[in-house]
Symmetry: C3
Subunit: 468 residues, 3 copies
């Protein structure tokens, strides 16, 4: 489908097609995502089509929930112990019956293109074709060439970053390192569960952090030491970035004694909501300082109200589609961090958002005015053909292309990785084609730019090229 | 004008035209609006063209006010008793002289298309053609085929919902029911004037509510009973939905004693601004519970600052063009209601907005994640070709098409009903044509979708198909 | 480049081209900007190409800073006394080496079009062409036809407003008036440095204001008198408008005694942050009253967080690229002013914004509903082809064209003036062409509209036509 996502103005479409073709042979750089490293460490065959493509995809299960189909019928595990559907074919048929709900959505696009480009299935999904498609995909999954490592290579992935907590022992990465496979799979340092006191079991996690790192985390100083040590371990396992998922973008540089006092109230179970917000904000300053020291690129993902759908959280746990975005203030929130380090060339902060209203008002002026800031790809609800287009239209004026950090797939769905990258490349090609046809950029510079966006920029900004 | 509102990319335009043609024979479903039911109950001839098309249209009179033409010169009644223009032809000429002010606006589009498709007038409106057009429309209005019921049938309206206060005795609907006309005209339960203590005469209205319903509204329990009884009466008069116009989207479930205490302070005239907001927020919870019991679909219209233009309100009263939108927080505001009933399949809440900044950030993720939520059509200042397009572009990613409740004309202007529906259908056709030309949706599914959006979805979601 | 910024749908593009051509001979109306009047009063040759086109352009220097190139290397004067680059050719080469950073940005468009249309340079800027282009521009700048007044005439500027503080003695304007040159250069009354207590040296400035105006500014009454007198002086020097750059859009009408008390706390150095905000808000009411008396059009530029980049401010001072927009509330902020004067035909307020999220939600409904309000052109970060387009798409529905005040270049870059106006005219032509091809506006009315937007409207709204 050569014109997928390209509009039909003939000249503009032709240029978009040519620009997109320039990215065809470029490897995939995947500096942020949520693939379980065990998949690649074990290299076992994937499960059935439903377990692979439906059950873990909260984009899919939330849409079905929104039309009254409970996640249990789709096989989403219940933490209440209630039985859920386990038959892959039954789940698949339920998806097929409700496939019309996904018209116009990115889930539909990703899945259809995955069927086509990964599994060679071009039959349209419908109730009456559900079984055939299920069988075809199941048959492919049984083949050795559809094992995870084979697909990794077929997809042209040059580097894939997974995301681990500081409590993770990184054995999967050690196993990958040890067994001689040439695929580059690195980790990312994501400390939210030992930073955000609103996580269930935060105090317990902090205690475990001390054990893992060999420091005394009953004191704030020992806690910071533990984090520094774990960062060093993560760097040894290939990490080039950290990641921070906070409700807001607030940063603050508390006096050390104040930060320590809040930490102690947290351990004592007496921290207030304000304490917790201040502690998260302060820790972003600490992590910025650590990044300046150890070189980890700092990713900031603010603005999700976690577990907004309480019933869903109670029934099925975190990360099952119940989070909702909220308005996010970067201009005042980040100011303390920027006052301290915004112009420091040693620091790289990649900002993401769920609030597109900040694209032109806040994010582009910030990234286009501070040396330390880069804009991450449109995130989650915005990682769509139209969201990606609106991002370029809104941020290029003030941030240009070279303050944007390239595409990240940010996915749990391994088989969707090439499709997602391809769509991002297509949207950028279409946007650049618009500049070319409007006389705002010559073709040769557009050609260089599309290749930078697809490959060179993310590799450089995420320090995957070995440079500091 | 076959290409009205279609862009000119040839292939995309042709597909849009084909998709739009599929809606040509579909009846109009009008589940929310402000037509006075007396118009249809009496079926008297309409007044002169200005009284029909200019005087009551606050889109028109506010634009002229913004250029210094006071509403009194356009015949808008003054509650101060000051004389206003009464000559239709004079008002019409004033409109024609200032017609250039409406270039690019939806008012221009609606009126021109109404002239053309309803009144067969294709002469462009200009100062020098004003009299001819006035005479032509006046002549049509004198014909029996331009009586309200004849137009209702000609317009292809399958069902039209009006909007009444719980204090309304519904005699117009009774008259319509009694006289055997086959047109389906139903009511909608809109309790704002007995809920919002900021309405002039709230306490008086509450007292009348008790009289109408036969309960003791000096007590909160009696007040709730009265509302329940009136809902039953409205349902008997065909109502399938309630409607709630609040300044914000706040909901809260107060302990019964607290709600009762605020209610009593309201009656005593001692309620604070915070009390009034909490009472509105609590009543949304009560109405959600009532909806679960009696099946009324719950429409929520938050975000208008009523009577922002104080002079206009003092001079000409409510609903004359002086309201202004404000930023609206759905994510936190609706959370208490969603915690309680968001996944309850018995509840249907249709959310509208004046704040398009919430389209992708809040509304689409909410509607795409909760079983009870649907998105209403772009409202008021956003009910325009560009507003409708931006709505689809921003919400389809996370909500798809089937969490949107179809078009509502929401109008006081009876003759504009077919034009408004037609424009919404055209915009959806153009959006779907874009998906088709971009390879994101096959034509046959786009064809099914346009018919669902235009007819089947609103009929189903507003429970106009007899299903619960 | 006839199709610059026009999209390539053939029919739409052709109509856009025709509409744009209608503006070719129209003079430029420049009612708001930051050209130093000394440039035209002295009419001395411009400096070298870098001093003219790079050093003072904070759009350019902030983008380079965002990629780690400090402003000192670009010749931006340091207030710390640190040496900065002074060699124009070195600065120019640095720009050329980093020219790729500006792909897709308005800076690139403005500079390239300036090279072409002002300096006849069509060689693409690259490291290897940097010297040639530098030499070519330098050679032009040495010619008499490239003196400021000659360019002013060549550009077709009918009137140019500069911006001065009430402390300015207006000698440059007096010199221009005295020497018989026919170019119309007027001033604008911008009192921020004597209104906003957060300006360095506010109390000192207020004392100087008293000296300049001959009143006693130790008292609030004398301060208001001084402002009135200076406005009269500015009007005598041609001013038709005032300009107010506030952090927020807050207005408030304080009792005179309260305003005076805050003023005195300000002089005593004891004003709080809340005092300062209230004082700014109150002064907008005072200025509205003065405008009703003396006829100055009131421009309001709210929403910039000044000196957000603290290092940049400490190092290089104000207006060097360190300001960042913030969310702005017009609906509640302006309400006191609108309650008092919003429908007063003697008042004209032109509203600007850095927060495009308010376009459809707040600004268009306000301007389309109050006689005193007009919408200024998209400002600063939004003064771009895409920003200008989104402005029309978002505000035309509720405000039409005739509540918008036309383009203002708002620039410090004299040579970019014709390019900026041309781009705004092109974007309006393209937007109108879309309305024509969609059947929403006949060509003849689009043709009248484009000329009104380009010339007649700003001339009228800013009272540059001699009418009150």
């Amino acid at each position: 489908m050569p014109d997928l996502t390209f509009a039909s103005g003939d000249r503009e479409r032709d240029i978009a097609r040519d620009l997109h073709a320039l990215t065809a042979e470029l490897p995939l750089i995947c500096p942020h995502g949520h693939i379980d490293p065990r998949i690649l460490a074990d290299d076992a065959p994937f499960g059935d089509p439903a377990q692979l493509l439906v059950v873990p995809d909260h984009y899919v299960t939330r849409m079905l929930l929104s039309q009254g189909i409970p996640p249990g019928r789709l096989g989403v595990p219940a933490r209440t112990g209630e039985p859920v559907e386990t038959d892959g074919r039954t789940i698949w048929r339920l998806l097929a019956e409700n496939w019309y709900l996904f018209r116009g959505t990115p889930s539909r696009l990703w899945l259809e293109r995955t069927f086509d480009t990964v599994f060679d299935v071009r039959t349209p999904l419908r109730p009456e074709t559900a079984d055939d498609i299920y069988d075809a995909i199941a048959a492919r999954l049984a083949e050795p060439s559809f094992r995870p490592r084979a697909l990794f290579e077929k997809f042209g992935i040059e580097v894939l970053a997974t995301t681990e907590s500081p409590l993770d022992d990184l054995t999967q990465h050690a196993k990958l390192e040890a067994d001689g496979w040439k695929g580059r799979v690195i980790t990312t340092f994501r400390p939210d569960n030992v930073v955000d006191m609103e996580f269930d079991g935060w105090a317990h996690a902090v205690a475990r952090l001390g054990e893992v790192a060999g420091t005394d985390t009953t004191r704030f100083g020992g806690y910071l030491d533990a984090l520094r040590r774990r960062r060093a371990d993560f760097i040894a396992a290939g990490a080039t970035s950290s990641d921070h998922g906070h409700p807001t973008a607030l940063t603050i540089d508390l006096p050390a004694a104040d930060a320590a006092a809040i930490y102690e109230r947290g351990l004592a179970g007496t921290a207030s909501a304000a304490d917790r917000e201040l502690f998260r904000a302060h820790m972003l300053m600490e992590f910025a300082r650590m990044s300046i020291d150890d070189g980890l690129v700092m990713q900031l993902h603010p603005g999700a109200v976690r577990n907004h759908n309480r019933w869903l959280h109670d029934m099925h746990g975190r990360d099952t589609g119940g989070d909702i975005p909220q308005a996010t203030d970067y201009v005042h929130g980040l100011r303390p961090l920027l006052d301290a380090y915004g112009n420091d060339p040693r620091l790289r902060v990649v900002l993401y958002t769920l609030d597109e209203d900040t694209f032109s008002r806040e994010l582009a002026p910030l990234a286009g005015g501070y040396a330390a800031l880069y804009l991450g790809a449109p995130w989650w609800f915005l990682d769509t053909p139209d969201g990606l287009r609106r991002f370029r239209e809104a941020v290029t004026d003030s941030a240009g292309f070279y303050n944007t950090a390239g595409f990240v797939d940010d996915t749990r769905a391994f088989c969707s990785i090439p499709v997602r990258h391809d769509i991002a490349r297509r949207v950028d090609a279409a946007y650049l084609a618009g500049l070319v046809t409007q006389g705002r950029l010559p073709y040769d510079e557009a050609a260089e730019t599309i290749q930078d966006l697809a490959y060179h920029l993310p590799k450089h900004i995420f320090r995957l090229d070995g440079e500091k």
